[in-house]
């Protein structure tokens, strides 16, 4: 069976092609069946490949399949080839499992949409490209998947393109990603020039063989990381992700929380040998990750849009993953990616369920007290929030703690402090969201309240499954304090992620670090409890006391406005100047000018065409005389 692992991405692709060709004639029931089944087939095949890899033991930790030679230009060769190792296995399982659950949820969420088939065609196509991205065995094919998921992201953000804001948000996501991708592409070209091959195995061999100087490794590492900041919404290219919430909520859960935005983390982990050569590049990653974690968390504090809060939370959590990669704890970063995929998609889907119940209401200030109306949404949401806040025995605790412990052990105290600060805010804003939405006074609009209803089972069952994973997913990577060999996840990734020099800290310090992260999580929840349940006047007094800070946070530090003023508007104005002067005058002038010359010369020559017989005869006669004269003399 493992020989066929390369078929994993192709089930969703075939499904998309069928939808594109015959989709119009299919009834909705069949569309839902085919779309879900295609992703389920990928998941089953991935699980079989994964299990047989486990059984085969460490010597069979890498499957490779070369389909054909794709580019063959002189010494530069690219194969269309897939690989399946432990890192790919984690990513493929997460993508196909979460993808499958979200497909099922979408059946309920999108049931009334008129473009039902188009939605599932895009969603299947996205799963295909995401699987290509994580299974590619070279950077060029990975880039194909990378761009493909970007395309699907654009299509799905702008899914309701009749809405102006959705169309604009899709465009923004696409353009911002292009900036990052330019860096990524230049990084790939550097690798092509200096290593000659983009196969990961060849890159690793070259790095180990010392082909790259440290300066070159730093340069390539930073260029590739620029690509990651675009795709994974890090500073300074994070601005597209909050806007991306214009898309349908399951899309936000799948693409903008669980899978696509983590592609940057995956890429950095995949290139871990290169990054371990360059301390500068690693430090930049850790610092950008830490700053993003705090920066995004502060913006989440004051937002009122339920999906925007989750979007900023995603940016912040992606920052944690990059902290992990930046301090050399790639396994911890991937571990957080894996737990985050479950609890963040759970939170998004639960938020979608709330919106579904409230006829599309997004403003948390107009919710409250929903616990008794939506119990089957409330409990999964609560589990997700506990997991992300970092309360012990839930998955998010283990992964976040692993990252912060490694950061501390590597002596990156500043990054560690940023992570802890972010953790307080994470706990606070998540429970602010919970309290405002599900507890306290009802602040519903009367006509919304009339239609309030719990979501159908097709939506709540995926929530329950994801809630289950949000609890147990962390137990495969226990911290070192409970014993050296319980970090099964890290050991599993060992063949891909070369742990290198690991700084060890004493058990006492590690217990102390765990205690701190638990304490800040509890503190964050407690503050939220006081602010939004006990003394609800506190937030408004704080706003009155510090109007400047509140306004700054509420308007997201005016970053969008600043980017508009510095980059977007000059670009638009410059384009207008060029349009007015070059396009209208020179290009249009040349085109219109040649037409005018034709008209003119035609008009001049048509003077000879008087229509009178005698004039023609006269010209004919003159011509004859001329010819005779020419022949005679």
């Amino acid at each position: 069976m493992t020989d066929f692992f390369w078929l994993i991405p192709f089930f969703p692709l075939v499904s998309t092609i069928i939808f594109v060709i015959f989709g119009r004639r299919f009834p909705k029931k069949y569309v839902s069946f085919q779309a879900c089944f295609a992703v389920l087939a990928s998941f089953v095949l991935a699980a079989i490949s994964f299990l047989s890899m486990l059984n085969a033991g460490p010597s069979h930790s890498l499957l490779e399949k070369n389909l054909f030679s794709w580019i063959n230009a002189g010494s530069f060769k690219v194969n269309l080839s897939f690989q399946f190792d432990s890192l790919t296995a984690v990513m493929v399982l997460v993508v196909s499992l979460v993808g499958f659950l979200i497909h099922i949820y979408s059946v309920g969420y999108m049931s009334k949409d008129k473009s039902y088939t188009r939605y599932f065609a895009y969603l299947n196509l996205f799963v295909f490209f995401m699987l290509v991205l994580v299974m590619a065995s070279n950077l060029v094919l990975m880039f194909v998947g990378w761009e493909g998921v970007g395309l699907c992201s654009y299509l799905l953000i702008g899914f309701w393109f009749e809405k102006h804001s959705a169309a604009n948000a899709g465009k923004k996501a696409f353009i911002v990603n292009r900036i990052g991708d330019a860096g990524f592409l230049i990084g790939i070209l550097f690798i092509v020039v200096h290593i000659g091959s983009t196969e990961f195995s060849a890159i690793n061999k070259a790095v180990l063989g010392g082909v790259l100087t440290p300066a070159l490794a730093t340069l390539i590492g930073i260029l590739l990381f620029i690509g990651a900041t675009g795709k994974s919404a890090q500073l300074p290219l994070y601005i597209w992700l909050p806007d991306a919430m214009e898309g349908p909520t399951p899309v936000s859960a799948l693409i903008h929380a669980a899978t696509m935005v983590t592609a940057g983390v995956y890429m950095v982990a995949r290139m871990n040998l290169l990054y371990s050569m360059s301390l500068t590049a690693s430090n930049i990653i850790a610092i950008v990750g830490g700053l993003t974690a705090i920066f995004a968390a502060t913006m989440a504090l004051t937002q009122n849009d339920i999906k925007k809060i989750l979007a900023y939370s995603t940016i912040s959590q992606l920052g944690y993953m990059f902290i992990g990669c930046g301090v050399g704890a790639y396994a911890a970063g991937i571990f957080h990616l894996y737990t985050h995929a479950f609890f963040k998609s759970l939170l998004f889907l639960a938020a979608g369920s709330v919106m579904h119940a409230l006829s599309g209401e997004l403003n948390v200030q107009k919710m409250g007290g929903l616990r008794k109306y939506l119990p089957r949404t409330y409990y999964p949401f609560l589990i997700g929030a506990i997991a992300i806040a970092g309360i012990p025995f839930f998955s998010g605790f283990f992964s976040k703690d692993a990252i912060l412990t490694h950061a501390f052990a590597q002596g990156q105290y500043a990054v560690w402090a940023m992570g802890i600060l972010g953790a307080v805010m994470t706990a606070f804003y998540m429970f602010r969201l919970i309290f405002l939405t599900f507890h306290g006074k009802e602040r519903l609009e009367p006509d919304v309240k009339k239609h309030i209803h719990e979501s159908p089972p097709v939506m709540t069952i995926p929530l329950a499954i994801l809630a289950f994973f949000s609890i147990i997913a962390g137990y495969i990577g226990l911290p070192a304090v409970v014993g050296k060999n319980y970090n099964w996840f890290g050991n599993f990734l060992d063949p891909v992620i070369h742990s290198g020099h690991e700084a060890h800290i004493s058990m006492g310090t590690e217990w102390f670090l765990i205690l701190i992260s638990v304490a800040v999580a509890v503190a964050g929840i407690f503050i939220a409890y006081i602010f939004y349940i006990r003394k609800t006047q506190i937030p408004s007094t704080l706003i009155k006391k510090f109007p400047f800070i509140y306004k700054l946070l509420y308007n997201k530090y005016y970053v969008d406005e600043a980017y508009n003023a510095v980059f977007v508007n000059p670009m638009i104005r410059g384009s207008e100047i060029i349009y007015d002067n070059f396009d209208l005058k020179i290009i249009d002038g040349a085109v219109n000018g040649s037409a005018k010359i034709a008209v003119w010369s035609g008009r001049l020559l048509s003077r000879f065409q008087t229509g009178f017989l005698k004039d023609y005869a006269l010209i004919f006669l003159l011509g004859a005389i001329l010819v005779i004269g020419f022949l005679l003399f």
Binding site: R607, Q609, T610, G611, F612, K614, L621
Partner: protein
């Protein structure tokens, strides 16, 4: 034996009369007849040269010209007739449909 120059001069006179008639006259029918005169002037020259050069080629060409002139007369007259039916005139200064 009449010298060849007589024929050639007669041919020139006829041809010149044809040109003059074509430019002077205003109705299509007369102009058409002028064209016929020019054709026959050319025929006369052909025959004269053929006789003096003792070659049959010129005479053969004359037969061709007569045949073509006959066909041309049939079509030309039909066209003139149709123009007259449609426009009630065959004066060339009234007909300038081909003006550019």
């Amino acid at each position: 034996m009449i010298p060849i120059s007589y024929f050639i001069v007669l041919s020139f006179i006829l041809f010149f009369l044809g040109i003059v008639a074509f430019f002077v006259k205003k109705d299509l029918l007369t102009q058409f007849m002028a064209v016929e005169i020019m054709l026959n002037a050319a025929n006369l020259a052909f025959i004269a040269f053929a006789k003096s050069a003792n070659a049959l080629d010129g005479q053969v060409i004359v037969f061709f010209v007569i045949t073509v002139a006959g066909a041309e007369a049939a079509i030309g007259l039909a066209i003139i007739l149709l123009i007259f039916r449609h426009r009630k005139t065959i004066k060339t200064e009234d007909i300038n449909l081909m003006k550019g």
